[in-house]
């Protein structure tokens, strides 16, 4: 009787949140599946006409941009996440040590995380500037280059340039999570490893890393999911250019929907993107499982 009352109370408590989430997260997903099967096109006479999988076929077979965008998205994601992970891990290892001013440094290194995306993009655009950009100025000054690099307008440099910004933006969250994971490493273990004469690398490889491996997997997977669908930074920095060099899938979807005005087709691309994301996530987790099995066997 008491339990029942408590349970009913719980339903009242979660009801508003469930309602909002259903209406604005779940219904839209279903809606976008429906829309992707229709000829939804702003200004078309019969937008609700059912076209089946035509949009999907068009993206996969007739649209060269889809595959090249997918490829660019993969590159953008992989490099951003690996770069951010390395920065985050390095800082986390340094700030896990019991040193003076630790709290101060921790707060400092989190700052890029809260800077609004728009400010981030504009600020980096200013840093990257051809003529008045400080990066070109400093590199010229120390003699690395003798003429300004067109960071954002050279098709070759644009991708590395936007990846660097994403690394800057992405590492803080990974840093916090890794810092927390490092607290699970038993102190005695690393101490005895020191006594056994293990060097820094061996200590990391055989003592520290096994304890933060699971967290590393989760956090890189999450970061990959965020980066794979990230829109703001690239849209604001390059708009997908120059010459499509940074046209990742989210910018392609945006262009098709709000410039091409083809909502149905854009929805199909977005859903293909989601499917690609799911495939990658599952593959990633399977790979992790297979690998940890190998390690378990080697240990046994």
């Amino acid at each position: 009787m008491f339990l029942q009352k408590r349970a009913r109370f719980a339903y009242y408590l979660i009801l508003p949140s469930l309602l909002i989430i259903t209406l604005l997260d779940l219904v839209p997903i279903i809606e976008s599946v429906v829309v992707s099967l229709q000829s939804q096109n702003m200004g078309r006479a019969n937008p609700d006409a059912f076209v089946g999988l035509a949009h999907y076929a068009r993206a996969l077979f007739d649209e060269p941009t889809f595959w090249s965008s997918l490829w660019k998205t993969l590159i953008w994601t992989a490099f951003s996440v690996i770069g951010a992970y390395l920065v985050a891990l390095g800082l986390a290892l340094l700030l896990h040590m019991d040193i003076w001013g630790r709290g101060f440094f921790r707060a400092l290194f989190l700052v890029p995380w809260v800077i609004p995306d728009v400010a981030t993009a504009l600020l980096w655009k200013w840093l990257y500037g051809d003529e008045f950009g400080v990066i070109n100025f400093l590199l010229t000054k120390i003699g690395v280059i003798n003429r300004p690099v067109l960071w954002l307008s050279d098709p070759l440099m644009a991708m590395p340039a936007v990846v660097l910004v994403q690394v800057w933006k992405l590492y803080p969250v990974m840093f916090v999570v890794l810092l927390a994971a490092l607290q699970n490493v038993p102190k005695e273990l690393s101490e005895s490893a020191v006594i056994d004469g293990a060097n820094i690398w061996q200590r990391f490889r055989f003592v520290t890393f096994p304890f933060i491996k699971a967290t590393s997997i989760i956090v890189t997977l999450l970061a990959s999911i965020w980066t794979f669908q990230a829109f703001d930074i690239v849209y604001l920095l390059t708009g997908g250019g120059p010459a499509g060099a940074t046209k990742i899938l989210p910018t392609l979807v945006y262009d098709k929907a709000f410039w091409g005005l083809e909502i149905g087709y854009a929805s199909a691309i977005a859903l293909l993107m989601l499917i690609a994301l799911l495939i990658i996530s599952v593959a990633y987790l399977l790979l992790y499982r297979a690998q940890s099995d190998v390690i378990e066997e080697a240990r046994a």
């Binding site: 408590r6 349970a7 719980a10 339903y11 408590l13 979660i14 508003p16 949140s17 469930l18 909002i20 989430i21 209406l23 604005l24 997260d25 219904v27 839209p28 997903i29 809606e31 976008s32 829309v35 939804q40 390095g90 340094l94 400092l108 290194f109 989190l110 700052v111 890029p112 809260v114 800077i115 609004p116 728009v118 400010a119 504009l122 600020l123 200013w126 840093l127 003529e131 008045f132 100025f137 916090v176 999570v177 927390a180 994971a181 967290t215 989760i218 999911i225 669908q229 829109f231 703001d232 604001l236 899938l249 979807v253 929907a257 909502i263 854009a266 929805s267 977005a270 993107m273 994301l277």
Partner: protein
């Protein structure tokens, strides 16, 4: 004794290396922000000088005055403040109760509810923005702040509920039981006993919601058309087209949009980080 002093020597050497690395990392990572601040305080001729200086030669607040007085910036600022505050208030109000239920009460479907929360966090915004655009239009909410407030609330909720759950679970259950024995109802217990103890958690989700609403770009870009309704992120982005290469305005604007979130964050970062971990890692 000899060994001890050798150890101390090695220790201080390691410390030196650690601090050097930290200082170097801090300089590289914070340089962009420093450069934004420094540039925004330079008068226009210095901004476009051939020879750049790290600090302004002639410090000036001119750029900030120009962007505040000469553009629609104050309007954008107010719009952002309004949208972020209202959506944050709604988010906190709704998620406090839901998180409490999730943390403390066993009910049928609790596991499924938790999973729904996790999954909705994964939905790409670029995917949601298309159907939401259609729904918002159908509801007649296109080009209104209400559309943004609803959307921001919906997108923050799953994470804030998850975050608060961690805070509530950390509160000893005996306190509630004591209140129940004293005859307090469930809701009274929650309001009088639990909520006051969850201060840091409330601070964390409030900040999280506000920062998210304040920074959000894509939905504002798609849902708003009238300049009068623009929030800061899209207002600032629109500067690029309207005032081509007026970097003096753009940099000062970027400074203004960054300042409030930076200030709040540094003030409350301990709680936010705590909440982030409570929500993200516990999983």
């Amino acid at each position: 004794m000899k060994i001890a002093s050798l150890d101390r020597y090695r220790l201080s050497f390691t410390l030196l290396v650690v601090y050097c690395l930290l200082a170097a990392a801090a300089i590289v990572i914070l340089f962009p922000i420093f450069w934004m601040a420094s540039s925004s305080l330079k008068p226009a001729p210095e901004l476009f000088a051939r020879n750049l200086t790290m600090l302004p030669i002639a410090w000036t607040l001119e750029n900030y005055l120009n962007v505040w007085q000469g553009t629609d910036f104050p309007k954008y600022f107010w719009n952002s403040f309004k949208v972020a505050s209202i959506s944050t208030a709604m988010t906190v109000f709704v998620s406090v109760y839901a998180a409490y239920a999730l943390a403390r009460i066993r009910f049928f479907g609790r596991g499924a509810y938790g999973i729904v929360l996790l999954i909705t966090q994964m939905f790409p915004h670029i995917l949601l923005v298309l159907p939401l655009f259609i729904i918002i239009q159908r509801l007649g909410l296109f080009n209104t702040h209400a559309a943004l407030i609803i959307a921001y609330t919906a997108f923050s909720l799953p994470f804030t509920i998850w975050m608060l759950r961690g805070f509530f679970e950390a509160i000893p259950q005996e306190l509630e039981e004591a209140a129940a024995i004293d005859g307090a109802s469930l809701l009274t217990t929650f309001h009088k006993v639990i909520l006051p103890l969850a201060g840091p958690g409330l601070a964390a989700v409030t900040m999280f919601g506000f920062i998210r609403g304040w920074n959000e770009f894509l939905f504002a870009l798609v849902f708003l058309q009238g300049h009068d309704l623009f929030t800061l992120p899209i207002g600032l982005a629109s500067f690029q087209e309207e005032y081509t290469f007026r970097w003096d305005l753009i940099l000062a604007g970027s400074g203004i949009i960054t300042l409030p979130v930076l200030f709040f964050f540094l003030l409350m970062q301990r709680f936010i980080v705590q909440g982030l971990l409570g929500g993200a890692v516990k999983g």
